[in-house]
């Protein structure tokens, strides 16, 4: 009748040991996401630390599937709560995903031959994206999560994941292509 969490009854030290073995190996992923979202080291450290302590506190709710996705969900929640408290102006509100879709289908958008850009240029291009797009680029391209995993992790429909990703890529391609054109941004 009652399903008790296995972790709630075991000894605290055992709990910490399990946490250190299962969750802390993903601290780099946690910091990377926080760093891209927050935009600077100091705030990223605050968010990562708070998220890690919170994760330990709620470790009892971890069902043992994907520790990295579970930790990043908490980083994400912690970050958006932090953002609302500290930089409310940056909360984008509702992104108009439908409007984004319409613009995306234009076929002849990219006539340039894109080349692999250097890290500094790419970093600047990502940093210029709105926060929801930065998030999706990190989760998809750096962390390699599937559309379904990203939808679960960020609590949006899978269609929204696809349209945001498409839009983010369009913006990145435009920005990176501009870097190579004579008289472009570079």
């Amino acid at each position: 009748m009652t399903a008790w969490t296995k972790n709630s009854s075991v000894d605290d030290r055992e709990r910490l040991k399990a946490f250190e073995q299962m969750v802390l190996p993903h601290l780099d992923a946690a910091y990377n996401l926080a760093r891209w979202l927050a935009g600077n080291d100091h705030d990223a450290q605050d968010v990562t630390q708070e998220a890690s302590l919170r994760a330990f506190k709620f470790f009892g709710s971890f069902r043992g599937e994907n520790a990295r996705a579970w930790l990043l969900t908490i980083v994400r929640n912690t970050f958006y709560n932090w953002l609302q408290k500290n930089r409310p102006a940056e909360m984008a509100g509702e992104l108009d995903d439908e409007a984004l879709m319409v613009e995306d289908v234009s076929v002849n958008a990219e006539a340039v031959n894109l080349r692999v850009a250097d890290a500094q240029t790419v970093q600047r291009a990502i940093a210029e994206l709105p926060v929801e797009f930065r998030e999706i680029v990190v989760l998809r391209e750096m962390e390699g999560f599937s559309y379904k995993e990203i939808a679960d992790l960020s609590d949006v429909p899978i269609g929204t994941v696809m349209s945001r990703l498409a839009r983010a890529r369009k913006l990145l391609q435009k920005s990176l292509a501009g870097e190579f054109q004579p008289g472009g941004a570079k």
């Binding site: 910490l16 990219e110 391209e141 599937s146």
Partner: protein
């Protein structure tokens, strides 16, 4: 397949999210169409640009150290308590200790634990609040109206936060009676679901990690923070209820 159809599929293909049947069609189209072939190359190039190692931030060593130290100290503070209990046990004779242990074990295995009884009480209170017309003593979505309403009715001041911005609007509050004491009950909504949040001062034995349970179709999560014990119950799914817990917990200062 024409360009209109092919273009949106290029990203899915690059992400490994395209089904086998359409992969064949798309590959054929890319082979025949220079414009789409360029789009395909650009998609791959972009992916390559984004996958550079130097774009990945690694956690600074001092952060890693600080987190580990903080977690250790949390655990150590608690285990010192256990240690003093253990000392007491070793001074008693072994046989008495063993007998006690056996008794405690038997009791805890055959009887519902205090936690289980409390969970049942929380769920019952939640059901009562839904059945009778007594969910709210104070109806307000304003935390600055709800919090002072408890003044003089409780011997503590519960942290009241409205989570409307996180899609968990505060509806109001009432007095309730749980585990032999008066407690604050706050009511929130998520879509059509009702969430009851019970708050009372934490005792020493309450300061343990968060835990969740599901009972009679209701999800129950409890945790402690800022010297208070929080129990939340709802027919909302566990994932969203956990989201509520994290949002509420983030809204009060971390201790």
């Amino acid at each position: 397949m024409n360009c209109q159809q092919a273009r949106p599929l290029i990203d899915f293909y690059a992400d490994g999210e395209l089904d086998a049947a359409r992969i064949l069609e798309l590959e054929k189209h890319i082979h025949d169409c220079p414009a789409c072939a360029l789009a395909w190359r650009n998609a791959q190039t972009l992916k390559k640009s984004l996958k550079q190692d130097s774009l990945f931030f690694t956690a600074p060593t001092e952060l890693r150290r600080a987190i580990k130290a903080e977690l250790r100290s949390q655990v150590e503070t608690k285990s010192r308590w256990n240690f003093s209990n253990w000392n007491w046990l070793t001074t008693a004779t072994t046989s008495v200790a063993t007998a006690c242990l056996v008794l405690v074990l038997t009791l805890s295995l055959t009887r519902p634990s205090a936690e289980q009884r409390l969970t049942q009480e929380i769920v019952s209170s939640n059901i009562r609040s839904l059945m009778a017309d007594h969910m709210l003593d104070v109806v307000s979505t304003d935390q600055h109206t709800v919090k002072p309403w408890f003044n003089g009715k409780l011997d503590f001041s519960p942290p009241v936060k409205d989570l409307a911005a996180q899609q968990f609007p505060l509806i109001g509050g009432r007095l309730d009676y749980i585990g032999g004491r008066s407690v604050a009950a706050l009511v929130f909504h998520r879509n059509k679901h009702v969430i009851n949040l019970f708050i009372w001062p934490a005792s020493e034995k309450d300061t343990k990690p968060a835990a969740s349970a599901s009972i009679q179709g209701y999800n129950v999560i409890h945790w402690t923070n800022a010297g208070m014990t929080f129990w939340v119950v709802s027919d909302l799914n566990e994932k969203e209820l956990m989201e509520f817990v994290q949002d509420y917990d983030s809204a009060i200062p971390l201790l």
